[in-house]
Protein backbone atom coordinates (compact mmCIF):
# COMPACT_ATOMS: atom_id res chain seq x y z
CA UNK A 1 0.00 0.00 0.00
CA UNK A 2 2.83 2.38 0.89
CA UNK A 3 4.45 1.67 -2.46
CA UNK A 4 1.21 2.52 -4.27
CA UNK A 5 0.85 5.80 -2.36
CA UNK A 6 4.44 6.70 -3.16
CA UNK A 7 3.84 6.06 -6.85
CA UNK A 8 0.67 8.15 -6.86
CA UNK A 9 2.53 10.97 -5.11
CA UNK A 10 5.30 10.76 -7.72
CA UNK A 11 2.78 11.02 -10.55
CA UNK A 12 1.06 14.00 -8.97
CA UNK A 13 4.22 15.91 -8.15
CA UNK A 14 6.20 15.01 -11.26
CA UNK A 15 5.32 18.37 -12.87
CA UNK A 16 7.56 20.12 -10.36
CA UNK A 17 10.49 18.44 -12.06
CA UNK A 18 9.49 19.87 -15.40
CA UNK A 19 9.34 23.53 -14.56
CA UNK A 20 11.39 25.29 -17.13
CA UNK A 21 12.67 28.76 -17.68
CA UNK A 22 10.74 31.33 -19.67
CA UNK A 23 12.01 34.75 -20.56
CA UNK A 24 8.50 36.22 -20.77
CA UNK A 25 9.53 38.37 -23.70
CA UNK A 26 7.90 36.37 -26.39
CA UNK A 27 8.10 39.16 -28.95
CA UNK A 28 11.87 38.78 -28.99
CA UNK A 29 11.61 35.06 -29.57
CA UNK A 30 9.71 35.36 -32.84
CA UNK A 31 12.02 34.41 -35.73
CA UNK A 32 12.49 37.09 -38.40
CA UNK A 33 10.85 34.87 -40.99
CA UNK A 34 7.68 34.66 -38.92
CA UNK A 35 7.79 38.30 -37.86
CA UNK A 36 7.65 39.39 -41.50
CA UNK A 37 4.56 37.35 -42.41
CA UNK A 38 1.46 39.26 -43.52
CA UNK A 39 -2.14 38.43 -42.76
CA UNK A 40 -3.80 37.20 -45.98
CA UNK A 41 -7.11 38.48 -44.56
CA UNK A 42 -5.82 41.94 -43.62
CA UNK A 43 -8.46 44.63 -44.14
CA UNK A 44 -11.24 42.15 -44.95
CA UNK A 45 -14.32 42.92 -42.81
CA UNK A 46 -15.83 39.47 -43.43
CA UNK A 47 -12.67 37.80 -42.12
CA UNK A 48 -12.66 40.07 -39.07
CA UNK A 49 -16.31 39.16 -38.44
CA UNK A 50 -15.42 35.46 -38.59
CA UNK A 51 -12.47 36.17 -36.32
CA UNK A 52 -14.81 37.80 -33.83
CA UNK A 53 -16.91 34.64 -33.66
CA UNK A 54 -13.80 32.55 -33.04
CA UNK A 55 -12.43 35.05 -30.55
CA UNK A 56 -15.63 34.79 -28.55
CA UNK A 57 -15.46 30.98 -28.63
CA UNK A 58 -11.77 30.54 -27.92
CA UNK A 59 -10.18 33.64 -26.43
CA UNK A 60 -12.82 35.62 -24.55
CA UNK A 61 -12.89 33.21 -21.62
CA UNK A 62 -9.39 34.41 -20.63
CA UNK A 63 -8.96 37.76 -22.37
CA UNK A 64 -12.53 38.96 -21.83
CA UNK A 65 -15.33 39.64 -24.28
CA UNK A 66 -13.96 43.17 -24.66
CA UNK A 67 -10.39 41.80 -25.00
CA UNK A 68 -9.29 43.89 -22.03
CA UNK A 69 -8.14 40.84 -20.08
CA UNK A 70 -9.77 38.90 -17.25
CA UNK A 71 -8.33 38.05 -13.84
CA UNK A 72 -4.91 39.56 -14.53
CA UNK A 73 -4.63 37.94 -17.94
CA UNK A 74 -3.28 40.32 -20.54
CA UNK A 75 -5.33 42.80 -22.51
CA UNK A 76 -5.23 42.34 -26.26
CA UNK A 77 -5.91 46.05 -26.74
CA UNK A 78 -2.60 47.04 -25.24
CA UNK A 79 0.02 49.07 -27.07
CA UNK A 80 2.31 46.02 -27.08
CA UNK A 81 -0.23 43.82 -28.86
CA UNK A 82 -1.51 46.51 -31.19
CA UNK A 83 2.03 47.38 -32.25
CA UNK A 84 3.06 43.77 -32.79
CA UNK A 85 3.22 42.65 -36.40
CA UNK A 86 0.67 40.23 -37.82
CA UNK A 87 3.46 37.69 -38.05
CA UNK A 88 4.32 38.05 -34.37
CA UNK A 89 0.70 37.56 -33.35
CA UNK A 90 0.40 34.56 -35.66
CA UNK A 91 3.53 33.06 -34.10
CA UNK A 92 2.12 33.59 -30.61
CA UNK A 93 -1.24 32.04 -31.50
CA UNK A 94 0.48 29.01 -32.98
CA UNK A 95 3.11 28.47 -30.29
CA UNK A 96 1.57 30.01 -27.20
CA UNK A 97 3.68 30.74 -24.16
CA UNK A 98 2.95 27.67 -22.02
CA UNK A 99 5.11 28.59 -19.05
CA UNK A 100 3.31 31.95 -18.85
CA UNK A 101 -0.18 30.50 -19.14
CA UNK A 102 -0.90 30.93 -22.85
CA UNK A 103 -1.62 27.59 -24.54
CA UNK A 104 -0.66 26.99 -28.17
CA UNK A 105 -3.53 27.05 -30.66
CA UNK A 106 -1.73 25.22 -33.44
CA UNK A 107 -4.55 22.73 -33.82
CA UNK A 108 -6.89 25.45 -35.07
CA UNK A 109 -6.53 25.75 -38.86
CA UNK A 110 -4.12 28.50 -39.85
CA UNK A 111 -6.75 30.44 -41.79
CA UNK A 112 -8.91 30.66 -38.69
CA UNK A 113 -5.96 31.96 -36.68
CA UNK A 114 -5.41 34.69 -39.29
CA UNK A 115 -9.09 35.57 -39.04
CA UNK A 116 -8.72 36.06 -35.28
CA UNK A 117 -5.77 38.39 -35.92
CA UNK A 118 -7.86 40.30 -38.45
CA UNK A 119 -10.43 40.81 -35.71
CA UNK A 120 -7.79 41.94 -33.19
CA UNK A 121 -6.79 44.67 -35.65
CA UNK A 122 -10.29 46.12 -35.45
CA UNK A 123 -10.09 46.63 -31.67
CA UNK A 124 -9.48 50.12 -30.35
CA UNK A 125 -6.41 50.76 -28.26
CA UNK A 126 -6.82 50.71 -24.51
CA UNK A 127 -4.46 51.49 -21.69
CA UNK A 128 -2.24 48.52 -20.83
CA UNK A 129 -3.11 46.57 -17.69
Amino acid sequence: MKRQLLLIAMILFFPALLIGASDGKWLNRVPDEDRARHNPFAGQPAAAAAGKVMFEENCAKCHGADANGLHNRPSLRSVRIQHATDGQLAWMLKNGNPYKGMPPWSSIPEQQRWQIIAFLRTLPLATEK
Partner: protein, 298 residues
Protein backbone atom coordinates in the same frame (compact mmCIF):
# COMPACT_ATOMS: atom_id res chain seq x y z
CA UNK B 1 -32.03 -12.12 -23.33
CA UNK B 2 -31.23 -10.67 -19.91
CA UNK B 3 -29.27 -7.48 -19.70
CA UNK B 4 -27.93 -6.80 -16.24
CA UNK B 5 -26.86 -3.17 -16.44
CA UNK B 6 -27.55 -1.62 -13.07
CA UNK B 7 -24.07 -0.42 -12.16
CA UNK B 8 -23.31 0.50 -15.72
CA UNK B 9 -26.42 2.63 -15.94
CA UNK B 10 -25.60 4.15 -12.58
CA UNK B 11 -22.23 5.17 -13.98
CA UNK B 12 -23.93 6.64 -17.01
CA UNK B 13 -26.46 8.46 -14.85
CA UNK B 14 -23.69 9.82 -12.66
CA UNK B 15 -21.81 11.13 -15.65
CA UNK B 16 -24.93 12.69 -17.12
CA UNK B 17 -25.61 14.38 -13.81
CA UNK B 18 -22.06 15.71 -13.73
CA UNK B 19 -22.42 16.97 -17.27
CA UNK B 20 -25.73 18.58 -16.42
CA UNK B 21 -24.11 20.38 -13.52
CA UNK B 22 -21.32 21.50 -15.81
CA UNK B 23 -23.80 22.81 -18.35
CA UNK B 24 -25.56 24.81 -15.70
CA UNK B 25 -22.49 26.78 -14.61
CA UNK B 26 -20.60 27.32 -17.80
CA UNK B 27 -20.73 29.58 -20.80
CA UNK B 28 -19.66 29.10 -24.40
CA UNK B 29 -17.10 26.45 -25.06
CA UNK B 30 -14.66 25.14 -27.54
CA UNK B 31 -12.25 22.25 -27.32
CA UNK B 32 -9.06 21.88 -29.27
CA UNK B 33 -9.19 18.14 -29.00
CA UNK B 34 -9.22 15.87 -31.99
CA UNK B 35 -11.85 13.18 -32.67
CA UNK B 36 -9.56 10.35 -31.58
CA UNK B 37 -10.67 7.75 -29.06
CA UNK B 38 -7.38 6.00 -28.36
CA UNK B 39 -4.73 8.23 -29.92
CA UNK B 40 -3.66 11.30 -28.01
CA UNK B 41 -2.68 14.48 -29.79
CA UNK B 42 -0.46 17.05 -28.10
CA UNK B 43 -3.48 19.27 -27.40
CA UNK B 44 -3.75 19.75 -23.67
CA UNK B 45 -6.74 21.03 -21.77
CA UNK B 46 -6.70 24.80 -21.66
CA UNK B 47 -5.55 26.07 -18.26
CA UNK B 48 -8.43 26.46 -15.84
CA UNK B 49 -10.89 24.43 -17.94
CA UNK B 50 -12.54 21.24 -16.75
CA UNK B 51 -13.75 18.72 -19.30
CA UNK B 52 -16.36 16.21 -18.25
CA UNK B 53 -16.75 13.31 -20.63
CA UNK B 54 -18.53 10.02 -20.98
CA UNK B 55 -16.73 7.58 -23.24
CA UNK B 56 -18.55 4.47 -24.26
CA UNK B 57 -17.69 1.32 -26.12
CA UNK B 58 -19.98 -1.50 -27.12
CA UNK B 59 -19.17 -4.68 -29.00
CA UNK B 60 -20.24 -8.26 -29.52
CA UNK B 61 -17.08 -10.36 -29.56
CA UNK B 62 -16.99 -13.77 -31.24
CA UNK B 63 -17.85 -16.60 -28.79
CA UNK B 64 -18.55 -14.08 -26.03
CA UNK B 65 -21.43 -12.03 -24.72
CA UNK B 66 -22.07 -8.50 -25.93
CA UNK B 67 -21.05 -5.76 -23.55
CA UNK B 68 -21.07 -2.03 -23.03
CA UNK B 69 -18.30 -0.24 -21.20
CA UNK B 70 -18.75 3.36 -20.02
CA UNK B 71 -15.86 5.46 -18.77
CA UNK B 72 -16.30 8.76 -16.96
CA UNK B 73 -13.46 11.17 -17.50
CA UNK B 74 -12.64 14.42 -15.69
CA UNK B 75 -9.85 16.38 -17.35
CA UNK B 76 -8.44 19.57 -15.87
CA UNK B 77 -5.97 22.00 -17.37
CA UNK B 78 -3.74 22.72 -14.37
CA UNK B 79 -1.41 24.92 -16.46
CA UNK B 80 -0.81 25.48 -20.14
CA UNK B 81 1.83 22.71 -19.99
CA UNK B 82 0.17 20.25 -17.60
CA UNK B 83 -3.17 18.47 -17.87
CA UNK B 84 -4.36 16.04 -15.24
CA UNK B 85 -7.20 13.52 -15.52
CA UNK B 86 -9.07 10.94 -13.54
CA UNK B 87 -11.10 8.10 -15.03
CA UNK B 88 -13.65 5.76 -13.48
CA UNK B 89 -14.82 2.85 -15.54
CA UNK B 90 -17.12 -0.12 -15.56
CA UNK B 91 -18.80 -2.56 -17.87
CA UNK B 92 -21.98 -4.51 -18.26
CA UNK B 93 -22.07 -7.82 -20.09
CA UNK B 94 -25.18 -9.49 -21.45
CA UNK B 95 -26.12 -12.69 -19.57
CA UNK B 96 -23.39 -11.97 -17.08
CA UNK B 97 -23.12 -9.02 -14.71
CA UNK B 98 -22.25 -5.38 -14.27
CA UNK B 99 -19.03 -4.45 -12.57
CA UNK B 100 -16.95 -1.42 -11.67
CA UNK B 101 -13.57 -2.17 -13.17
CA UNK B 102 -11.27 0.49 -11.77
CA UNK B 103 -9.78 3.95 -12.04
CA UNK B 104 -6.89 5.72 -13.69
CA UNK B 105 -4.92 8.84 -12.82
CA UNK B 106 -3.28 10.46 -15.78
CA UNK B 107 -0.96 13.41 -16.33
CA UNK B 108 0.29 14.91 -19.56
CA UNK B 109 3.17 17.36 -19.80
CA UNK B 110 4.40 19.60 -22.55
CA UNK B 111 8.18 19.71 -22.05
CA UNK B 112 9.05 22.24 -24.75
CA UNK B 113 8.01 25.91 -24.74
CA UNK B 114 6.95 26.13 -28.39
CA UNK B 115 5.62 24.12 -31.33
CA UNK B 116 7.87 22.19 -33.69
CA UNK B 117 7.20 20.23 -36.84
CA UNK B 118 6.88 17.28 -34.49
CA UNK B 119 5.85 18.40 -31.02
CA UNK B 120 6.22 16.00 -28.07
CA UNK B 121 4.09 15.56 -24.98
CA UNK B 122 4.91 13.16 -22.13
CA UNK B 123 2.20 11.05 -20.54
CA UNK B 124 2.32 9.23 -17.21
CA UNK B 125 -0.57 7.17 -15.88
CA UNK B 126 -1.27 5.09 -12.82
CA UNK B 127 -4.06 2.59 -13.20
CA UNK B 128 -5.79 0.22 -10.86
CA UNK B 129 -7.98 -1.84 -13.14
CA UNK B 130 -9.43 -5.33 -12.86
CA UNK B 131 -9.14 -7.96 -15.55
CA UNK B 132 -12.85 -7.47 -16.20
CA UNK B 133 -12.07 -4.12 -17.82
CA UNK B 134 -13.43 -3.85 -21.36
CA UNK B 135 -12.90 -0.16 -22.04
CA UNK B 136 -9.98 -0.68 -24.46
CA UNK B 137 -8.62 2.80 -23.80
CA UNK B 138 -5.38 1.50 -25.23
CA UNK B 139 -3.91 -1.86 -26.18
CA UNK B 140 -0.59 -3.15 -24.96
CA UNK B 141 1.19 -6.49 -25.01
CA UNK B 142 -0.72 -9.51 -26.24
CA UNK B 143 -4.12 -8.33 -25.06
CA UNK B 144 -6.67 -10.03 -27.29
CA UNK B 145 -10.18 -11.36 -27.72
CA UNK B 146 -9.65 -14.28 -25.31
CA UNK B 147 -9.98 -11.92 -22.35
CA UNK B 148 -13.50 -11.00 -23.43
CA UNK B 149 -14.59 -14.65 -23.50
CA UNK B 150 -14.20 -15.08 -19.73
CA UNK B 151 -17.03 -14.46 -17.26
CA UNK B 152 -16.87 -11.38 -15.09
CA UNK B 153 -16.91 -13.56 -11.99
CA UNK B 154 -13.54 -15.01 -12.93
CA UNK B 155 -11.88 -11.71 -13.78
CA UNK B 156 -13.34 -8.99 -11.58
CA UNK B 157 -11.36 -10.02 -8.52
CA UNK B 158 -8.00 -9.83 -10.27
CA UNK B 159 -6.96 -6.19 -9.96
CA UNK B 160 -3.78 -5.08 -11.66
CA UNK B 161 -1.82 -1.98 -10.76
CA UNK B 162 0.13 -0.59 -13.66
CA UNK B 163 2.30 2.33 -14.50
CA UNK B 164 2.03 3.47 -18.08
CA UNK B 165 4.05 5.95 -20.07
CA UNK B 166 3.43 7.35 -23.53
CA UNK B 167 5.44 9.47 -25.85
CA UNK B 168 2.89 11.55 -27.76
CA UNK B 169 4.00 13.20 -30.98
CA UNK B 170 1.90 15.51 -33.11
CA UNK B 171 2.28 17.56 -36.26
CA UNK B 172 -0.12 20.17 -37.56
CA UNK B 173 0.19 21.21 -41.18
CA UNK B 174 -2.24 22.42 -43.83
CA UNK B 175 -5.16 21.86 -41.49
CA UNK B 176 -4.23 18.25 -40.74
CA UNK B 177 -3.23 16.84 -37.41
CA UNK B 178 -1.13 13.69 -37.44
CA UNK B 179 -0.43 12.10 -34.06
CA UNK B 180 1.63 9.10 -33.02
CA UNK B 181 1.75 7.48 -29.59
CA UNK B 182 4.33 5.00 -28.35
CA UNK B 183 3.10 3.17 -25.26
CA UNK B 184 5.02 1.28 -22.57
CA UNK B 185 3.20 -0.29 -19.63
CA UNK B 186 4.55 -2.04 -16.57
CA UNK B 187 2.33 -4.14 -14.40
CA UNK B 188 3.59 -3.63 -10.86
CA UNK B 189 3.51 -7.35 -10.21
CA UNK B 190 6.24 -9.46 -11.70
CA UNK B 191 5.28 -9.09 -15.36
CA UNK B 192 7.38 -7.79 -18.25
CA UNK B 193 7.07 -4.40 -19.89
CA UNK B 194 4.35 -4.38 -22.52
CA UNK B 195 4.20 -2.15 -25.56
CA UNK B 196 1.62 -0.69 -27.87
CA UNK B 197 1.05 2.10 -30.36
CA UNK B 198 -1.65 4.36 -31.72
CA UNK B 199 -1.63 6.66 -34.73
CA UNK B 200 -4.29 9.02 -35.98
CA UNK B 201 -4.88 11.70 -38.59
CA UNK B 202 -7.74 14.19 -38.57
CA UNK B 203 -8.75 17.62 -39.77
CA UNK B 204 -11.50 20.15 -39.45
CA UNK B 205 -13.93 20.05 -42.38
CA UNK B 206 -13.45 23.80 -42.94
CA UNK B 207 -10.18 25.73 -43.03
CA UNK B 208 -11.72 29.18 -42.59
CA UNK B 209 -14.36 30.13 -40.08
CA UNK B 210 -17.82 31.46 -40.79
CA UNK B 211 -18.72 35.06 -40.03
CA UNK B 212 -22.01 33.87 -38.54
CA UNK B 213 -22.74 31.53 -35.70
CA UNK B 214 -24.07 28.34 -37.19
CA UNK B 215 -25.01 24.90 -35.95
CA UNK B 216 -24.33 22.49 -38.78
CA UNK B 217 -21.56 24.38 -40.54
CA UNK B 218 -18.47 22.46 -41.56
CA UNK B 219 -16.13 24.18 -39.14
CA UNK B 220 -17.92 22.43 -36.28
CA UNK B 221 -16.96 18.99 -37.60
CA UNK B 222 -13.67 17.11 -37.49
CA UNK B 223 -13.06 13.84 -39.28
CA UNK B 224 -10.19 11.43 -39.46
CA UNK B 225 -9.05 7.89 -38.79
CA UNK B 226 -7.00 6.03 -36.26
CA UNK B 227 -5.06 2.78 -36.07
CA UNK B 228 -3.85 1.17 -32.86
CA UNK B 229 -2.79 -2.12 -31.35
CA UNK B 230 -0.40 -4.08 -29.21
CA UNK B 231 3.27 -4.63 -29.88
CA UNK B 232 3.92 -7.56 -27.57
CA UNK B 233 6.18 -7.42 -24.57
CA UNK B 234 9.82 -7.29 -23.66
CA UNK B 235 10.34 -10.99 -24.46
CA UNK B 236 8.19 -11.22 -27.58
CA UNK B 237 8.11 -7.85 -29.26
CA UNK B 238 6.10 -7.56 -32.48
CA UNK B 239 2.64 -7.97 -33.92
CA UNK B 240 2.33 -11.72 -33.35
CA UNK B 241 -0.67 -12.62 -31.14
CA UNK B 242 -1.68 -9.01 -30.67
CA UNK B 243 -4.95 -7.27 -31.44
CA UNK B 244 -5.12 -4.45 -33.95
CA UNK B 245 -7.92 -2.03 -34.81
CA UNK B 246 -8.57 0.73 -37.32
CA UNK B 247 -11.51 2.91 -38.22
CA UNK B 248 -12.84 6.29 -39.20
CA UNK B 249 -13.79 8.80 -36.56
CA UNK B 250 -15.81 11.99 -36.52
CA UNK B 251 -16.77 14.63 -33.99
CA UNK B 252 -19.27 17.46 -33.90
CA UNK B 253 -18.85 20.48 -31.62
CA UNK B 254 -22.32 21.75 -30.96
CA UNK B 255 -22.18 25.53 -30.47
CA UNK B 256 -22.52 26.34 -26.76
CA UNK B 257 -23.03 22.66 -26.08
CA UNK B 258 -21.26 19.33 -25.81
CA UNK B 259 -18.97 17.72 -28.34
CA UNK B 260 -20.23 14.44 -29.75
CA UNK B 261 -17.82 11.87 -31.17
CA UNK B 262 -18.43 8.57 -32.91
CA UNK B 263 -16.27 5.88 -34.42
CA UNK B 264 -16.81 2.34 -35.70
CA UNK B 265 -13.50 0.49 -35.41
CA UNK B 266 -12.68 -2.82 -37.03
CA UNK B 267 -10.50 -5.66 -35.84
CA UNK B 268 -7.69 -6.36 -38.28
CA UNK B 269 -6.83 -9.92 -37.24
CA UNK B 270 -8.32 -13.00 -35.59
CA UNK B 271 -7.10 -11.90 -32.18
CA UNK B 272 -9.28 -8.78 -32.35
CA UNK B 273 -12.98 -8.18 -31.81
CA UNK B 274 -14.79 -7.82 -35.15
CA UNK B 275 -16.26 -4.34 -34.64
CA UNK B 276 -16.06 -1.84 -31.80
CA UNK B 277 -18.63 0.93 -31.65
CA UNK B 278 -17.28 3.92 -29.78
CA UNK B 279 -19.03 7.11 -28.76
CA UNK B 280 -18.17 10.03 -26.56
CA UNK B 281 -20.02 13.01 -25.15
CA UNK B 282 -17.84 15.69 -23.63
CA UNK B 283 -18.40 19.13 -22.25
CA UNK B 284 -15.93 21.78 -21.21
CA UNK B 285 -16.59 23.94 -18.19
CA UNK B 286 -14.76 27.12 -19.06
CA UNK B 287 -12.36 28.63 -16.54
CA UNK B 288 -13.84 26.83 -13.59
CA UNK B 289 -11.14 28.18 -11.31
CA UNK B 290 -12.30 31.74 -11.99
CA UNK B 291 -15.40 30.87 -9.99
CA UNK B 292 -13.14 30.85 -6.93
CA UNK B 293 -11.42 34.15 -7.70
CA UNK B 294 -12.60 37.43 -6.28
CA UNK B 295 -14.29 39.94 -8.55
CA UNK B 296 -11.59 42.42 -7.58
CA UNK B 297 -9.06 40.53 -9.65
CA UNK B 298 -10.96 41.22 -12.82
Amino acid sequence: MRFVGLASFSLARLSLLAMGAALSVSSALYAQEKPYFVTYSTDLEEPGNLEVALKGLTASPKDANAFISPTIELEYGATAWWTTEVYAQGQSTVNDSTVFTGYRLENRFRPLPREYFVTPVLYVEWESVSNADKSILEITGHDGIQRFQVNNGQTRGIVEHSLEGKLILSSNFKGWNVSENMIAEKNMSNEPWEFGYAVGAARSLASAGSAHRCFLCRQNFDAGAELYGGLGDRYSFGLKQTSQYAGPTVDFRTPNGPTLSFSPQFGLNDNSIGTLWRFKVSYEVQQIRDLFKSKDSR
